[in-house]
Symmetry: C2
Subunit: 229 residues, 2 copies
């Protein structure tokens, strides 16, 4: 409901939510960094009230962590917590994929196929680096999730989880071999969707994300973010 109905809500709290999310995801505010309400409010040109409401929502989303009477910081999750998030994404997006297999229209399937092969043609994939987590990858997953037609699920995945993951995917999976594999897995998923085979689609999506997760777990070289700013 947030990310979808945001456009028609010019309330300062909503704007603050949007801009603050962007600040965090773009890395302008680093993980672990403290947020001073008064300072940030002044930067955003609003007062503390609406900002606090936005912060509270971001808290619930897990992007911010508050210590009572001390302050709020941008979350700086451990590698394990990121892995945990991926596990959740795994089952949730698996569900979305199963539903999508039953509910995607033929036109949407066609579009999905286009997205997949357009992107495969003109870049990235064979050069190895960069397919995974590219716009093309994003689009593919986005369209499947939205194809689930499950509002709550879409909100949770796109509105909450993806925001957090977008933020935390450091330079995950620069792994060159992974790119090709990921693309192939996408193809398999698409085929299952086209067969309207929900069971297979769910299983394949889960495996796909599981592989992505393991790929991340391998590239655990970058330490956690600096605890202070």
């Amino acid at each position: 409901m947030d990310v979808v109905a945001l456009e028609k809500s010019p309330s300062l709290s909503d704007q603050a939510l949007e801009r603050l999310t962007e600040l965090i995801i773009r890395g302008d505010i680093k993980p672990g960094a403290r947020i001073q309400e008064a300072v940030l409010a002044r930067q955003l040109g609003i007062s503390r009230g609406p900002l606090r409401e936005a912060i509270r929502r971001l808290e619930g989303r897990g992007l911010l962590v508050r210590i009572p009477h001390v302050g709020v910081r941008v979350a700086s999750p451990t590698v394990e917590e990121i892995i945990d998030l991926y596990m959740i994404r795994e089952v949730l997006e698996g569900l979305a994929c199963r539903l999508a297999a039953e509910r995607l229209t033929d036109e949407e399937l066609k579009r999905l196929r286009d997205v997949l092969f357009d992107h495969s043609a003109h870049e990235d994939v064979k050069s190895g680096t960069g397919y995974y987590q590219s716009p093309g990858d994003q689009d593919f997953h986005f369209q499947i999730i939205e194809g689930s037609r499950q509002v709550r699920l879409i909100e949770t995945l796109l509105g909450d989880l993806y925001q957090v993951l977008r933020f935390f995917r450091y330079r995950s999976s620069i792994n060159p071999g992974r790119a090709k594999a990921a693309f192939d897995e996408h193809v398999s998923i698409l085929e299952a969707l086209e067969r309207r085979d929900g069971e297979a689609a769910e299983r394949l999506m889960r495996e796909h994300l599981q592989h992505a997760r393991m790929s991340i777990q391998e590239t655990v070289d970058v330490g956690a973010a600096p605890p202070d700013a």
Copy 2:
């Protein structure tokens, strides 16, 4: 993070969150009912600021719905939306169950077994009505979820989803046959856990919740809540 760390945070916003949640879940404020900030703030003995923060969090949790410049209402989901929630619970708790199979200590398994058979002995189950959604049922699921040792998952399930579902499970599954079946399914799940068979545990839990979901879908006689108060 909410439901677990609430005890040590006597901030008015936290208290408001707690009390308001309780008011909604207990049905003191009915689905679809309008919430007037000033009135509710006075009732709670606080000012509108902290209350608004609490409301914003409940919004994110899906218990409240806001129409800009008009007001917030208690959500009154359709049956389909409740079914959707159950689907999400299905995969999430399936994941929790798989993790629990690997991570529960032997002591916890023993305790789980006790919970199951204690409750089976002294009430409900054979009399038919009332096991499903009884404290015993709750405990069983709670302990498994917490046994997953996955903070984020626990928060999502216990802090968010269960709150919402507790609220929306009208008088679901008064279905007498269901009670016995539910208990048997619990036993099967427990056995899988004791075998440390995560795959089976996940599958059984998903089937268990799937049955519960279908049981609800059958008892779709009670219409949606009155749209106004």
